[in-house]
Symmetry: D2
Subunit: 370 residues, 4 copies
């Protein structure tokens, strides 16, 4: 495959992460053509030029449509706030480019559906930025499950917690406006759903309870404004093949910084994982002697591909950004028509539909079937 020309729209937290991944992927993997960093778009031309220099892109623009129109651009990373995704994603796909769009797709389900339609119509690769599924240990979890190491899985619990909304004295922000979505449900809920999609399939029925830890937050003028989103979401799940599940989410969990705690229980063993210790996976299987049973802490190692592409020695640890490099590699594989471990727009839309079903189950106080 010849080298891909890359366009990047947005250079915030995730934009930089995409840029680093595009820059590293060829050297890490060694078996793909080195992507060309062709064009970068930011809110204005000055910022774009500055960021293009910093991130190594050849051209810069303050008009993202110019980037989409650039014939040297083969694939576009969209890393802007969610509300911009629909227009940008559809434009990229209609221009016949491949698309790497950050999650979630869009605040409204209707917009997400339009994006999905555009992806289908384009015949191009359209992938969402669900990086946690790329962790070699999460992939290894999938391998162990596929091999039946846990026997038949019967229950799954996932928690996702951070504390960026935990301070009741922090000023009212757009995160507390209804326009930003439901709150923890779309900020975080999509990540556990991406893991479920990979490991077990998406839920068939959901029952959620959303909560607001703080009813109001202070505004710039010294007043208080009612909070419209839910920083907490607890969801009961019925997964395919009778698997029972739960997802517990909080954006207001003091001390949690990047916790995604997964517990999987089967007829022959259990698996436990926490993203805050992303280089460890705990496995329990029934051993011969009861006196020597216990959870085994597996450290990430070359035996968990593609860890080996990053580090030759076990236990030396990958980082968050490395996951995005793996994701870039999978995207390149998908573009090359190979099997790839990604969340495409089909699955991505199913995830967003599940999120909306959760919100409805909360409003209606009953199970919602998908």
């Amino acid at each position: 495959m010849s080298s891909l020309g890359v366009g990047l729209i947005g250079t915030g937290y995730m934009g930089k992460c995409h840029a680093l991944a595009w820059n590293a992927v060829a050297s890490v993997f060694g078996d793909v053509a080195r992507p060309r960093l062709v064009h970068l778009a930011e809110a204005d031309a000055g910022l774009a030029a500055q960021r293009a220099a910093a991130l190594g892109f050849a051209r810069a623009t303050g008009d993202w449509r110019a980037l989409v129109a650039d014939p040297e651009v083969d694939v576009v990373s969209v890393t802007t706030p969610n509300s911009f995704h629909p227009d940008m994603a559809i434009a990229v796909l209609e221009a016949g480019k491949h698309l790497w769009c950050e999650k979630p797709m869009a605040p409204s389900l209707a917009d997400a559906e339009r994006m999905l339609a555009a992806a289908r119509a384009s015949g191009r690769v359209a992938v969402l930025g669900y990086n946690y599924i790329q962790n070699p240990l999460i992939r290894h979890m999938g391998k162990l499950l596929a091999e039946g190491v846990l026997g038949t899985v019967h229950s799954v619990r996932i928690e996702m917690d951070e504390d960026f909304m935990a301070d009741p004295e922090a000023p009212f922000s757009w995160k507390s406006e209804a326009g930003s979505g439901f709150g923890a449900l779309d900020d975080f809920g999509v990540h556990p759903l991406s893991l479920l999609a990979m490991l077990f399939g998406l839920p068939e029925a959901v029952m959620a309870d959303l909560a607001k830890p703080f009813a109001t937050r202070q505004t710039a003028d010294g007043g208080r404004r009612e909070v419209e989103t839910w920083d907490i979401a607890n969801i009961l799940l019925r997964l395919p093949e009778g698997v029972s599940g739960t997802i517990l989410l909080s954006r207001s969990a003091w001390g949690r910084k990047g916790r995604i705690a997964v517990q999987v229980f089967g007829s022959r063993g259990s698996l436990v994982y926490d993203q805050e210790r992303m280089n460890e996976l705990a496995l329990f299987t029934r051993e011969g002697r009861p006196g020597e049973e216990g959870f085994r802490t597996i450290l990430a190692a070359p035996a968990h591909p593609p860890y080996d592409r990053f580090v030759a020695a076990p236990g030396h640890g990958l980082g968050f950004n490395d996951l995005k490099v793996i994701e870039a590699r999978e995207l390149i594989a998908a573009i090359a028509g190979q099997a790839a471990h990604v969340i495409d727009f089909e699955q991505g839309f199913a995830i967003e539909r599940a999120v909306h079903a959760m919100a409805r189950s909360h409003r209606e106080g009953r199970w919602v079937t998908l």
Copy 2:
């Protein structure tokens, strides 16, 4: 207060635990009269005599009613299977004795209600064996909450997991019969509820999802029998003062041996506890400098009374049986008319009512208000 005469009915796992506690409580605390181990009842006279010798009781009987009638007995420990509790508890109370009854009260709510009525009528102390609330670190958690160290609490999660039902090849047992109750809900559910009762109050509304990891289990004759109880229970909770909560329970969680994982989140901090590491409590509070924030692992110490009555040095660890000694001390205080940290029959009945509400919410697929 003069010395209490103790009767013990049942000498299984918890019966022995009661005996050890009655035997140790005076020496550990040093400020109560040494209980006299007067009478022990078991299924037959032979076994009773043997267990009385082993556990240091003066008299033995195969007829528990004889023990209840013994005028030297002031307080009776009832540690038999749940289905025996109603008759025994009511007899003890009607005989004018104090009662220490293992939890839960009874398989049926009607029986539990009769027991409560008997307790009210007797004017005697009737206490349930909820030992986890006695852990000095759980008490310290309560102290920290009362002092407002976490600010206003807004969410609580409790998990309780063991693996004694995790093996699908294990033979069908009474634990899988409907007569034994709902399964994880009453085996385990009552413990998280006892912690909630102590720390936050019991739930105002519940929504449960129960699950059977294994539809059938094998019978002695080589056939298979349908399982009638639920080894898994996931419950959404609405607690007093707007606190959001969850309880997740499993008797089929391979590798979990005595996990009771508690997470409490408030406006100023968080508390995390796991019974499998019962001598540790993790506390997060907002510190001055962001670079030094983190969960602090507090080791049990004399600063957490009554740890100091057991060990003079910090970090040396209490054990499960020590919790029962503390419970005995609290019971003696209650009998002496002092304030005591116990779950009495009023609270115990409220706990069992909550369990039955959970079961109903599962059957009806909707929230049930208490």
Copy 3:
């Protein structure tokens, strides 16, 4: 065996621990006669009477020699400060009683040697209070080693740390006087040596480096006095059969409360233990697949006798005081002429000789052979 009559000299931290153990041992184990708590001695008669009542002893005295002379006393617990051990221990043994003496034997090696001679001459059981070796998980470690689960062991590391001397502002105390011994070396050093004695044999050569974290400490009169003992000791060891070892000790390690961290490495696996988590043992053995290798965290369970005598369920945890109950059981076995898992005066003296060799190696800056 008929019931033992017990005398207890000293009722401080360890004295109470002995009393609790004597009180509990029969009920916990169920297969030994219930010891009779006959006589208790304290510094004066008033205190003795009060403590005898609190701890359940029949008689009390302010004169420990009266206790030793009591014909109903068969075995004496000596739990006074070390400097009292020689006189008391020798008197007990000369009176033909069995002896349970707290460790270490005596500040001076000459005194320890006299105690050993008295034990030999008496023909009585003389046991030292090395309770950590009684932890069911430490015993299980011994079993795994004996079975060759680790293959041939080639190295061992033990750390023991607390922080009771960590505060440089704390007033000068007897712990900093030369008369109290060497410091960390005898306070703590004897414990790792007791573990080594049980698991591998005592060292054949030692090389120590002692250190004083604080050169002076403040005195009551506002002055400062030079510290004469070493709160820190680091020791290189050569153990039998070519095993390489280290012992690192500190009484001034802020945050460590009861840490005894053991690491054992062999040709086929490793074992890791920390007394602050005394109900956990981590075992690594070479497994079939490199991707599933890891340290397995084994929770204390009935499969680790005599845990089963305390609790019927796994993962529920023993406490520090339970170790002393096991020690009492072993002592009773020894008195009955059965094989027992104890440190007797022969081994205890060898331990103290090793401590003195360590001190000499520090003074002389060279290896000392034992």
Copy 4:
């Protein structure tokens, strides 16, 4: 500063790591000119060409001297086996290029000294690849120590363990030949010494005990050959300002994959770190209330620069390779004449001298002063 032209000699484990770092550093930091990957040398021209393509270097050669002579090359990464370092490093420096050389400098102290002389004579920047010192949490440890958060430090312990030599059945390799050095002492010993150099200064006196877990290993012809290096090294240290220290090393510690466990104790607190959990740092300081004291687990965060250059959110984790990117940034700063956090050849030589002193102290069985 204009862009640096980079040459890379060697593309094994560390060679690739250098390539990834050179490739990423400008995008991660955004404030340095993007290095040009000019020239790559490998053992033969074919391999060199292949690796240059994979790693993004413009030119390739089978003759490293051609790379050194390339006028477009400003700085050379030397990542070949240690025995090649002296010739290559001296050639690079004599050619007036800057040098980034993997550690340790050379098997023989005489060679290391020649390398140091060449660096001094060249006036160029010559830096060693001690990447662990670049971890933002290790740097934060340095900051906390400098601020006196621990008070006066009095003791330090460092362990470094892996298991790549743990298997006694593995065939005899060059790692067991005397020509490769002392064994664990130079493989691992230099890393703890680099940490000490940064945090406390290098030891003033050392006393080591080296050990061979396996006396012989099997050879290809089915025989056995005597092992000439020591897989285990235990070292007592006397550090500047009276700090007491230990370094314990093993290449044969089953289950340890990248453990570098650091414990620092001071008059007001303690710090604990383990490289296997490189995104966590545990800090104990004396708090107000004894009941709330404990080690605080700090997760790596933007508050620990330059973590913020990689990830904007706390607790998301850096990886091993990210440390090398930071090292590259420091090297670029050094070349620009700015203050830089690196181990240069002066300090690097002092580290190697300490290693040789340790070996001598083992041979002579006594302390060796530096």
